[in-house]
Symmetry: C2
Subunit: 403 residues, 2 copies
């Protein structure tokens, strides 16, 4: 096939269309099979409930094929979610409060399409999820960072940022946060901060987009209620996903919030109803508490991986390196001594068979040169120690060559 000869095949004027080739990050990366792969927050392949999904499919094909294979929406999955959320969070939803989406990635895009004009502002915690920042950039939003610590986003700093932006006449459309097992830091926002966040957001009249991608993957302790659950003003939009607890490849997630916001996003979906084939099967899989049981098994697996990584960090990291202990999720965030450059170091690590995500990828502003994100989710349990040993050696070498 030749390239087009149409000279005036001018693309849409948005940054989006013209930069689309560079912005391909949307398509998820395949894991490098020959690597000890700490880079991406991919779910553990050894945990996929393949047999149970095949059984659920056989049942759906026998009993619900006329609905699951037709143009349709995955109603049973919406019903499952409404029921699950009632039990888990104690909130009562109507169908219009919930939209099943093609993963939470599509939910983020739809919120942008609903709310964002070029130049509108979005406030994020820093560091944050690379994929969300890419989506916000595609929507031509301006991104402003607020720091976070071991209790989550710094709400006083948020308050000040919102005041400053308002003073400058900027239009802030929403605050984006991952309050539980945050990506990339693993920290969980305290109940007190959650309440404070809602108070600040309402005072500034700014919506909150809560991303709970790692829901249920709890290793110990407790998790405060959702921001959405604590919200009685209809200012929280909430997105969740089945990618971490069931199967990323089924592309199922959801957007929740007040009906006047959520029902509008339904009309913004490109492809009509979200994949009913996958949706009906997921609902069948999930029924009778099976999704919760499976999520508990996953939590056990990921806890073991986290522990293995923590003991590797203890053993192999040089003095001056610091990391958190996440109580759930996929990630540990590591800060190396100032002056080290994890971007530069990466090629050396890859040559030695280990990869990771340089922390700069998690800051919209590109800072964080001495930081890195380690995903313990995808790598096999028995490879973690070796990976940490290699990584520790490389970091020590870097420190010595720097000295």
């Amino acid at each position: 096939m030749t390239d087009t000869t149409i000279k005036q095949a001018s693309f849409a004027s948005s940054l989006l269309a013209n930069r689309a080739a560079q912005l391909k990050a949307g398509a998820a990366p395949a894991a490098a099979r020959d690597m000890i792969a700490f880079t991406y927050g991919l779910p553990a392949e050894e945990s996929f409930p393949a047999k149970e999904i095949a059984e659920a499919t056989a049942w759906v094909m026998q009993h619900q094929a006329a609905s699951a294979l037709q143009y349709n929406s995955p109603e049973p999955l919406s019903e499952f979610l409404i029921d699950y959320i009632r039990k888990e969070q104690g909130i009562e939803l109507a169908t219009q409060n919930l939209l099943v989406t093609a993963g939470s990635g599509q939910a983020l895009s739809l919120v942008c399409r609903l709310l964002i004009d070029k130049g509108d502002y979005i406030v994020v915690e820093a560091p944050t999820f690379l994929g969300a920042v890419t989506t916000f950039r595609k929507a031509e939003a301006e991104i402003v960072e607020v720091p976070l610590d071991e209790n989550g986003m710094d709400i006083d700093a948020l308050d000040k940022t919102l005041t400053d932006l308002r003073t400058q006449g900027k239009s802030v459309k929403f605050i984006y946060t991952i309050p539980t097992f945050q990506n990339p830091t693993g920290v969980t926002m305290s109940l007190e901060r959650r309440k404070h966040l809602l108070e600040v957001a309402e005072r500034h009249q700014v919506l909150v987009l809560e991303d709970d991608a790692y829901h249920g993957l709890l290793f110990e302790g407790e998790v405060p209620p959702w921001l959405w659950t604590l919200d009685d003003k209809g200012i929280v939009l909430h997105c969740g996903t089945f990618s971490k607890t069931l199967a990323a490849g089924m592309r199922l997630g959801w957007l929740g919030g007040s009906a006047d916001l959520v029902s509008r996003t339904a009309g913004l979906k490109d492809e009509g109803g979200t994949n009913p084939f996958a949706g009906y099967i997921a609902a069948k899989f999930a029924e009778n508490g099976r999704l919760e049981r499976h999520t508990n098994e996953l939590s056990n697996l990921y806890r073991r991986k986290r522990d293995r990584m923590l003991s590797g960090l203890e053993r192999y990291m040089p003095d001056g390196a610091r990391w958190n202990i996440p109580h759930g999720g996929f990630f540990i965030w590591v800060e190396l001594p100032e002056g080290l450059d994890t971007v530069k170091m990466l090629s050396k690590a890859v040559k030695s068979g280990v990869n990771y995500l340089p922390g700069t990828a998690c800051f919209a502003s590109g800072k964080g040169n001495n930081t890195l994100r380690l995903a313990f989710s995808f790598v096999k349990l028995d490879q973690i120690e070796q990976g940490m040993r290699i990584l520790g050696e490389i970091i020590r070498e870097e420190m010595e060559s720097d000295a």
Copy 2:
């Protein structure tokens, strides 16, 4: 859940966001189960290969779960398509010429997102596919109609329209056509017209978007090669779908074209790679010629339904009604005597247990009051005669009350 209290939750300024609630047509309509349903071009439920899909799923879950359930793209389906298109159309594609999408609906949206700025022009044949017009309107395009006859789009009229628009300084981004078993008229564009269309498009330097939704559903005779196959200038973008030949609920379609255009659209997808779970299963189902065999069986079924509808039309339609004989696809287009209003008539039909699509829904300009589209695809074979009898009675009553 309350509605949001945020007063300034101002939506994005585009028509898109503000009209989203009204533009929900994107979500496909469920068929009214108690109707003789001639309205929507839904595939026949009795034809769904449910058992074979369950078997394909079992195989994929046993052998490819690590890929099909992970963040991924459905590579096997791309490979199937490249192979199929080589054999069927004799064109040699690279991976970059093809993007698997969530149905062809998403392909249409992506093309708009790539090319359309507010106020850009799209030329369509009239009447045309309602869903495409909705998508083009969401993209804030201006839509210009060119008539079609029993040989497809009137290319001389197209030529004149493009000249006029250029004279007026309008930016025409593409020509949208369904050249084979057109929706809603069922007509197929002749080879001569196809060549003429390409000549005109290239002379005016305008891209062509070819929608081949009813591919393979041929009842008799032959179909000319795709516009894409005849194109040696890289000016055709082509979209296809598995919704009619495998299962609409699996939401699988594709966009083809020159690599410089198609590769850019990949980065515009909201949700990353198109559903790998559905894609791997579809590829397994399709292998070894099974999709072609299944499509042939479907053609036999739909041919019988068409024939039943044609004999019903002969028997029950009043003098002055005219219709075409489609050689494939899902639809028959009926023109009633001038003065009849099929929009007004619809409520009476529904009360009698029959529905259809008023022809006005198929014109961007809203004309076509005396026309209607009858889908013979979804309705059960043994209900068609009764449906046609009821419809014939209602039309006769209307004519008498008009007289």
